[in-house]
């Protein structure tokens, strides 16, 4: 049913449809509306779940770990410092091969404290063994949660999924969203049957001490599974699109890329603005395009290279920094093309939108303008030079 709805409320509605049995979360802006709604649904009896109010994000992640280990579909949501405080458990959940969906309402990280959007939080946990999917709009965020459970619980996957949606921009934005029916979701996402769990009739030891003779294989197995996910994820997205009447393209979305001379690569809500700019510039005859990355982990190297092999100039837009090195997404895009015969001649790197600074249409036009034969490294967009002159003496 189509509803004019706030992003967080839409996520709560879709989690309700996914029927988790254990929900646990700790308050952090801008994730709060999601879990407040779920708490109300549990209080009203419309969601049949155990809602565990914890004393920290570390425990929120630990509670859903316990729920998943007990064989129950579980859910949590967090943001920024909360995700960082969870990080020890985040790595652990993937290592234990437990299925889970977590919503990350993307937000900047301290210091200085800042509650507004960028993607530094989830990007910083890219090596944790989680699948990371980035939503462009509220509809896609809603749909990625259903797809997320489907992928996570696939017996050939058994890894947690983080659905990343830009804080405030998507969590507090209001859009017309198609909230699927319970029948549709039930058909696509049957009740969770755990491959392994804590069962008194079939006792097993989960999380033992693993020494040098066995440890490497556990990490290899996750790496291998994430490689397999480059086929499993697009298949799940295609199945979903067919069942729910959407037209998602999979790991990446190429928008006006075919004959493009200049393409921006980006993730998340900024892709919507970039599409508007592409339309505007195209109407003026400029051959520009966008490559949206949906799946950041696993990183879809082949899909990216295939999409961009004939594009001469590419700009990578990062909403995060790897302080002291190349921007995270840009560095991976460059790696992806290293040694490839057909590759862009220019891969320039831009950083924008940190700590909630708006990325306007003008910001995006500026990126296209700066995307020339001269390759740029970590070019910060919309910096205020007057602030950089201040000295502390």
């Amino acid at each position: 049913m189509r509803q004019f709805i706030e992003g967080s409320h839409a996520i709560a509605e879709v989690i309700k449809l996914c029927k988790p049995g254990v929900i646990s979360a700790y308050p952090i802006t801008p994730q709060t509306h999601i879990v407040e709604d779920l708490a109300q649904m549990v209080a009203d009896g419309s969601v049949d779940a155990q809602f565990v109010n914890v004393e920290s994000e570390h425990s929120a992640a630990s509670v859903v770990l316990g729920g998943a280990a007990a064989g129950v579909r579980s859910y949590t949501a967090t943001s920024s410092q909360g995700l960082f405080y969870m990080s020890e458990v985040i790595f652990n959940i993937a290592g234990l091969r437990l299925p889970l969906v977590l919503t990350c309402a993307n937000r900047a990280v301290s210091a200085p404290i800042n509650i507004w959007n960028d993607q530094q939080d989830s990007i910083s946990l890219r090596d944790a063994g989680w699948i990371q999917l980035y939503a462009e709009d509220i509809q896609e965020a809603v749909d990625l949660h259903i797809i997320g459970y489907k992928i996570s619980e696939d017996k050939d996957v058994m890894l947690p999924v983080m659905v990343c949606m830009d804080g405030f921009i998507l969590t507090h934005g209001i859009e017309t969203v198609d909230i699927p029916s319970q029948e549709q979701v039930d058909k696509f996402l049957p009740p969770y049957k755990a491959l392994y769990k804590l069962d008194v009739d079939d006792p097993m030891t989960i999380g033992p001490l693993v020494g040098p003779d066995y440890y490497m294989e556990t990490r290899y197995a996750i790496q291998k599974t994430l490689g397999d996910c480059l086929k499993i994820i697009p298949q799940a997205i295609a199945d979903f699109s067919k069942d729910f009447g959407r037209n998602y393209s999979g790991l990446v979305e190429a928008y006006q890329v075919k004959d493009a001379e200049r393409v921006i690569i980006a993730m998340g809500s900024v892709c919507g603005s970039i599409k508007d700019v592409v339309d505007e510039l195209r109407s003026k005859g400029k051959k520009v395009g966008l490559l949206k990355i949906v799946s950041y982990r696993p990183f879809p190297v082949d899909a990216i290279c295939n999409s961009l092999k004939d594009v001469p100039k590419v700009a990578v837009l990062d909403k995060a920094v790897s302080l002291g090195s190349y921007a995270p997404l840009a560095s991976e895009i460059r790696s992806a093309f290293f040694g490839k015969k057909k590759a862009p001649k220019v891969i320039s790197s831009f950083i924008a939108g940190l700590g909630g600074r708006d990325i306007t249409k003008d910001s995006i036009k500026e990126i296209y303008r700066l995307l020339t034969a001269k390759e740029l490294q970590e070019e910060f967009i919309d910096l205020k030079p007057e602030l950089l002159k201040e000295k502390y003496e």
Partner: protein, 295 residues
């Protein structure tokens, strides 16, 4: 009777008080039990892959989160409609309970989960090489609270964990000792008969860290209780309901059999301070055995 829920063949040290106590706990709890374990000696010596000593479903996640993981397991079992027939036990050592895991434990106690938390208190971080914890006693020589020219060891007394647990308003708090194995089992059974959060702290001598002979584990455990340094007490619904009466042996009898207190034996002033701690416990909990003459 098949009592192999923590089976032999694990890699604990000779004379390990924790392995003895853990076996008492799980055998008393029975096979319809899920165990959630913090990182520590117990986890390491009982689950070195590809072997496991556990005959019950058992999960280890991290050093400090057993109480929170157990909360999730309990919530999951409630959701599945299975909680009434299954015990959930969360357990860890003194460091993972009273230091790094105190927040998760406090959350578990405060939220009212139907879980028994067991702290195996060997009074230091033994798994990493005998570093002091919040439950290391006053004047103990550990690798991070060594005695020396300017120090007689650990500068602070034990954190009062049973009282901290009791302050959460939970239905059952008790202490026990590897010196009294049957008492451990009685307390575990009693705890599991009560719905809600329960806290059991078991004193478990560690021959390696305490530097006593491995064949003295039971005796050392008993001496700690008998001198008043480790009172065996029970709180029910917040009220002190039972204590183990003692003859109140001098603390020196307990101290002198352990290398971790060797530096004190030539220092009567420090022994007096430790005796004062025992005397305080004896007074506070009414531990002294009354003779028939009522002395």
């Amino acid at each position: 009777m098949n009592n192999n829920l923590l089976s032999a063949g694990h890699t604990a040290c000779s004379g390990c008080g924790q392995s003895l106590a853990a076996r008492m706990v799980i055998d008393a709890a029975g096979k319809n039990t899920v165990v959630v374990n913090n990182t520590g000696c117990l986890e390491v010596f009982s689950t070195a892959y590809p072997e496991s000593a556990w005959g019950v479903p058992w999960v280890h996640s991290l050093f400090e989160n057993a109480a929170a993981v157990a909360s999730g397991v309990e919530a999951g079992l409630i959701y599945l409609g299975k909680k009434d027939s299954i015990n959930v036990i969360a357990q860890g050592g003194d460091g993972s309970t009273a230091d790094i895991g105190l927040q998760a434990l406090s959350g578990m106690l405060e939220r009212g989960h139907d879980i028994l938390y067991v702290c195996y208190d060997n009074e230091a971080y033994m798994n990493t090489g005998v570093q002091r914890s919040g439950l290391t006693p006053f004047d103990t020589n550990t690798t991070t609270s060594p005695s020396g020219k300017k120090s007689s060891g650990n500068i602070r007394p034990k954190k009062p964990m049973p009282e901290i647990a009791n302050a959460h308003g939970i239905p059952y708090v008790a202490t026990a000792s590897a010196g009294y194995p049957q008492d451990i089992q009685r307390k575990v059974k009693k705890a599991l008969s009560i719905k809600g959060p329960k806290y059991l702290q078991i004193h478990v001598p560690c021959p390696l860290g305490w530097r006593h002979e491995p064949n003295l584990t039971i005796e050392v455990g008993k001496l700690a209780v008998e001198c008043g340094l480790y009172p065996l007490i029970e709180y029910e619904s917040g009220k002190l309901s039972a204590v183990r009466k003692i003859s109140a042996k001098p603390v020196e009898e307990y101290l002198k059999v352990q290398g971790r207190f060797k530096h004190l034996l030539s220092n009567p002033e420090e022994i007096k301070k430790i005796q004062a701690i025992a005397d305080y416990n004896i007074e506070k909990y009414g531990l002294k055995l009354q003779t028939e003459a009522g002395s």
